[in-house]
């Protein structure tokens, strides 16, 4: 509940302020603003790379493991908002909410990440008309 409340606060604050992280890629060409997901799994890889930080989550369902590729903002944008390359670690159990890719399977634009210890990490990967995202800068 604590984590969910954190997401609630983060999302509402974003919607209210119009603020958000930025990237040079348009959200709408890659992700479907109406196709949301929420999944839980273990972080299997973190790529602290440009133009977008990515982390991979192994999700087990019905005994089968699927790996999701999650997109975040750029390292510089995340760093300016408190992230480091060590914020998410391989093995962390996380619950991720976001928007799914338009065509590719198991790809998502992560908007919130909640770790098992209750940390609520605002993600924010996109720009222009990303739901809950900020201005297109």
């Amino acid at each position: 509940m604590k984590g969910k409340l954190g997401v609630l606060v983060a999302c509402l604050s974003l919607l209210g302020s119009g603020a958000g992280l930025v990237a040079h890629h348009s959200f709408s060409t890659e992700y479907d603003g109406a196709k949301t997901f929420k999944l839980t799994g273990a972080v299997s890889k973190v790529e602290w790379t440009n133009p977008h930080v990515r982390f991979y989550v192994d999700v087990v369902e019905d005994g089968k493991t699927e790996t999701w590729n999650m997109e975040l903002a750029s390292p510089s944008a995340l760093a300016r908002n408190g992230w480091t390359s060590r914020t998410l670690k391989v093995g962390d159990k996380v619950t991720v909410e976001g928007y799914a890719a338009k065509v590719a399977p198991n790809r998502g634009n992560a908007r919130s990440v909640i770790t098992a210890d209750g940390r609520s990490l605002f993600a924010g990967a996109a720009d222009d008309n990303a739901p809950g995202g900020g201005g297109n800068q």
């Binding site: 409340l5 609630l8 606060v9 983060a10 509402l12 604050s13 974003l14 919607l15 302020s17 603020a19 992280l21 930025v22 990237a23 040079h24 890629h25 348009s26 709408s28 060409t29 890659e30 992700y31 603003g33 109406a34 949301t36 790379t49 440009n50 133009p51 977008h52 990515r54 590729n69 997109e71 750029s74 390292p75 510089s76 944008a77 995340l78 760093a79 300016r80 908002n81 408190g82 992230w83 914020t87 890719a101 338009k102 065509v103 590719a104 790809r107 634009n109 940390r119 990490l121 605002f122 924010g124 720009d127 222009d128 008309n129 990303a130 739901p131 900020g134 201005g135 297109n136 800068q137």
Partner: protein, 293 residues
């Protein structure tokens, strides 16, 4: 739990509105706010328009950004305006038309309108999305800095160091030289610069290639492009960029757009941004790289 229910309800009401695709305006007309801008006359949600409290951030913490300072612009010992600082904005992203005077439209030649109509059907071919440079005067979501090189007598070069897109720089010759008579076309062209009345940095650039798009609308130009930027630090935290664009190959007359850059917060610095490192753009949306062989 009740709060979660309220959250879900608000999100359900809000997402459909936020998720709407922006309607493409007619070529040359100012784009809507959702297309974004970098402090152009037409508005937009540039960083400079952010509320005093910045985004809700990592670890659930809010980053409190100091308000943009409004004191007098600093000066160098000889009285010339000091452009030092880290800046955000100062050029178009969504639509260059947003920098026009209200009611004005881009003087596009018919051929340019045709190009924009075509590009509207393939917006993901924008070179900027594939880690190519943004050209001039396009801006990026990332900061930049003016760096001046001196001898003991006078400035020789001004460099504009950009964090993105692709960690690039522009070189402006401040030593009084002229443009060469013939130039090989490049992304940032050949720039000469000088200070006008010690208040405004003027950058005159020719020799561009025709590859970059002015904005996400796909506003085109040709190799005849000639830009004249006038950068004026109107106060400590605000930098105005008036850009006059001449290109008889794309526009029926010269026109001027105006943009605003804002001083970044204390302690912020240029960071590394190597766009080519792991660019997976296109995969999620099923778009092909137009630059791939």
């Amino acid at each position: 739990m009740r709060k979660l229910f309220v959250f879900t309800g608000i999100l359900a009401l809000t997402l459909p509105l936020l998720a709407q695709q922006p309607q493409a305006p007619a070529p040359g007309a100012p784009a809507g706010q959702a297309q974004g801008a970098q402090g152009g006359r037409g508005g937009g949600r540039g960083r400079g328009n952010q509320p005093p409290l910045g985004p809700v951030n990592a670890l659930g913490q809010e980053v409190r950004r100091a308000p943009t300072p409004t004191g007098p612009a600093p000066r160098l010992p000889d009285g010339t305006v000091d452009l030092n600082g880290l800046w955000n904005g100062g050029g178009p992203v969504g639509s260059i038309a947003q920098g026009l005077e209200q009611g004005e439209t881009l003087p596009l030649l018919p051929k340019s309108k045709e190009i924009m109509t075509d590009r509207a059907t393939r917006e993901t071919d924008d070179p900027h999305l594939w880690c190519m440079p943004m050209g001039v005067p396009r801006s990026t979501p990332y900061p930049f800095r003016f760096v001046q090189n001196y001898t003991h007598k006078a400035p020789t070069h001004m460099f504009i160091v950009h964090e993105g897109n692709i960690h690039s720089f522009r070189q402006i010759f401040m030593d009084g030289r002229k443009h060469p008579a013939e130039l090989d076309p490049t992304w940032f062209g050949h720039s000469i610069g000088w200070f006008d009345n010690k208040d405004t940095l003027v950058i005159d650039t020719v020799g561009f290639n025709d590859k970059f798009w002015f904005d996400r609308q796909g506003t085109p130009h040709t190799e005849q492009l000639h830009t004249i930027e006038r950068w004026t630090r109107v106060n400590e935290g605000t930098l105005r960029n008036e850009v006059t664009i001449e290109d008889p190959g794309a526009f029926s007359r010269p026109f001027t757009t105006t943009w605003t850059a804002r001083l970044a917060g204390p302690g912020d610095e240029i960071m590394e941004y190597i766009c080519q490192e792991n660019n997976q753009y296109g995969i999620a949306g099923g778009h092909k790289n137009p630059f791939a062989n």
